[in-house]
């Protein structure tokens, strides 16, 4: 089997199923009574945390490729990014449909008046833009260079997601800081790479 076939026929389906794992976990928690006395709050937070995790997974692909040297990893980036969007959609649905029960007035007040929801919505809108431009046709239409530029917005979405999580919690809690630290690490890796490249370029220009 060629590497391409291995990725398409075996690895991708496996990763796809793994990405649905959190929903399986949720079904198990529902069955075993693990949704707490406030299942709506639990569901909201569970889905939000998984959305953020998948953003981090997608962001981890580039550094992992650099560290392992396996270029095939890039083939999974879109899949992970789309699953991040999938969990964001579920997170938003549970907020709108269960937590607020389609009280659009209250939702609008939340978006405009509560900073942490505004920040969360910014992240969601960015991921929406990235998701709809993730098809081959869209990449062609936009052009590789512009598409790359557009998809750099995921950095902003990741930061906004972390901020949203941090601001939602009362006091300074550990989990939001852990997510923030992970995103900082992944963005820092890119920054270091970028600075190295620039220095090399300027050295070449001098020579």
């Amino acid at each position: 089997m060629t590497q391409d076939k291995l990725i398409r026929r075996v690895l991708k389906p496996v990763v796809w199923v793994l990405c649905l794992g959190p929903l399986g976990g949720l079904a198990w928690l529902a069955y075993s009574g693990g949704l707490t006395a406030n299942p709506i709050e639990f569901l909201n937070r569970y889905l939000g945390e998984w959305a953020l995790k998948f953003v981090i997974f997608a962001l981890a692909i580039t550094p992992l490729r650099g560290l392992t040297g396996w270029a095939g990893l890039t083939r999974f980036r879109r899949l992970l990014g789309l699953f991040a969007f999938f969990y964001v959609v579920l997170h938003l649905s549970s907020y709108v449909g269960l937590d607020q029960y389609f009280d659009w007035n209250a939702i609008w007040l939340d978006i405009t008046k509560r900073t942490y929801i505004t920040v969360g919505m910014v992240a969601a809108v960015i991921l929406l833009a990235l998701a709809v431009t993730s098809t081959k046709g869209m990449i062609k239409r936009i052009g590789g260079k512009n598409w790359n530029r557009l998809h750099k917005l995921v950095y902003l979405a990741a930061a906004a997601g972390c901020l949203h999580f941090f601001m939602m919690r009362k006091g300074v809690q550990l989990e939001p800081l852990m997510y923030g630290g992970a995103v900082l690490l992944l963005l820092g890796y890119r920054l270091v790479g970028y600075l190295k490249k620039r220095r090399r370029k300027s050295r070449l220009a001098v020579a």
Partner: protein, 322 residues
């Protein structure tokens, strides 16, 4: 350890989930299924609520006028009250306190009484409680996070205790502290808040007949996750004012510092009266989710105790003194 009382098989009426609550749960599950995010939850019967860790029955509890009937609202079930807690001393997750307070031994316990008071000293829990009759009071409990419960507390009026301790004339406030013992309270190993947890009331708030020192709920000793062995209950204020596992009661001339106010003065005021018109900077306080119900209900001014307590705040701008 499973503690069985002599007639453990007797089902008290309080153990039976009220019909309306049961229906509300079914309704929630149905709606969740319809909304398409309930997954299996809609088709699988709700789990049986385990009856583990039921505490020791309290003797001689007197009924009061604050009953479930007079309130006209369903009690929150015992399982929810004891499994869904904010008690950061045992972790910040809602289920952490029930999990990590399991081995917490609240007794022996003592409370230091100091400050502007005639009878200062270190009181054992028994010495503090024994001279008083225990009462049952069914109160609404409204968390600042916009969820609420109805809880049948057992305790004694704080006013009676204060009178016995004899505050001096210049005692204007009563300050409380929670146990600070990271060995026994694992959540205190991290500085989520500046430990020990502190709370306080103005003297007239402390003397209000509604204010309760609770030592039990559902007719039994307080479970550790609910603030054993003794905690404050101030039903017209947000839940964080109702400080748990109290080891110190101080009578002070000046307004004492309080934990959440120290952590974020813009978000948590000293008074923190339940006020649907004054939103938390990060979320609305207009509505609340009663645990066990699907739709949010409007939050009542002073949590429904306006008649009893509004006079305490006449002439005060409650938007400023939130």
């Amino acid at each position: 350890m499973l503690i069985k009382s002599a007639n453990a098989s007797d089902v008290k009426s309080s153990e039976i989930t009220p019909k309306s609550l049961f229906d509300a749960r079914r309704q929630f599950l149905r709606t969740a299924a319809i909304a398409g995010v309930g997954f299996a939850a809609g088709s699988i019967a709700p789990p049986a609520f385990a009856r583990t860790g039921r505490g020791k029955k309290l003797a001689g509890v007197q009924p009061t006028k604050w009953t479930q009937d007079s309130l006209g609202e369903d009690l929150t079930d015992y399982e929810s009250i004891t499994s869904y807690n904010n008690f950061y001393e045992f972790g910040t997750g809602k289920q952490d306190p029930a999990l990590y307070a399991k081995d917490f031994q609240p007794k022996p316990w003592s409370v230091v009484v100091d400050g502007e008071v005639d009878n200062p000293g270190t009181y054992s829990y028994e010495d503090l409680i024994k001279p008083h009759k225990l009462e049952e009071r069914v109160y609404r409990f409204r968390c600042v996070e916009a969820w609420s419960m109805v809880i049948p507390w057992v305790g004694l009026p704080l006013a009676d205790l204060v009178k016995r301790l004899g505050p001096k004339n210049d005692a204007k406030y009563v300050a409380f502290e929670t146990l600070n013992d990271p060995e026994r309270m694992s959540g205190q190993r991290r500085q989520v808040l500046e430990w020990p947890y502190r709370e306080g009331l103005r003297m007239d708030e402390a003397m209000n007949p509604l204010t309760l020192m609770a030592v039990g709920l559902y007719g039994e000793e307080l479970p550790s996750q609910n603030g054993a062995p003794i905690r404050l209950v101030v039903p017209w204020k947000y839940g964080f004012k109702s400080i748990k596992s109290i080891v110190r009661i101080s009578f002070t001339k000046d307004q004492p510092p309080t934990s959440w106010n120290m952590a974020g003065a813009r978000e948590y005021g000293f008074y923190s009266n339940v006020n649907p018109g004054k939103n938390h900077p990060r979320w609305s306080q207009a509505k609340e989710r009663r645990i066990g119900e699907f739709l949010k209900r409007p939050t009542l001014s002073f949590n429904g105790y306006e008649e009893d307590v509004a006079a305490l705040y006449t002439g005060m701008d409650l938007n400023k003194f939130y």
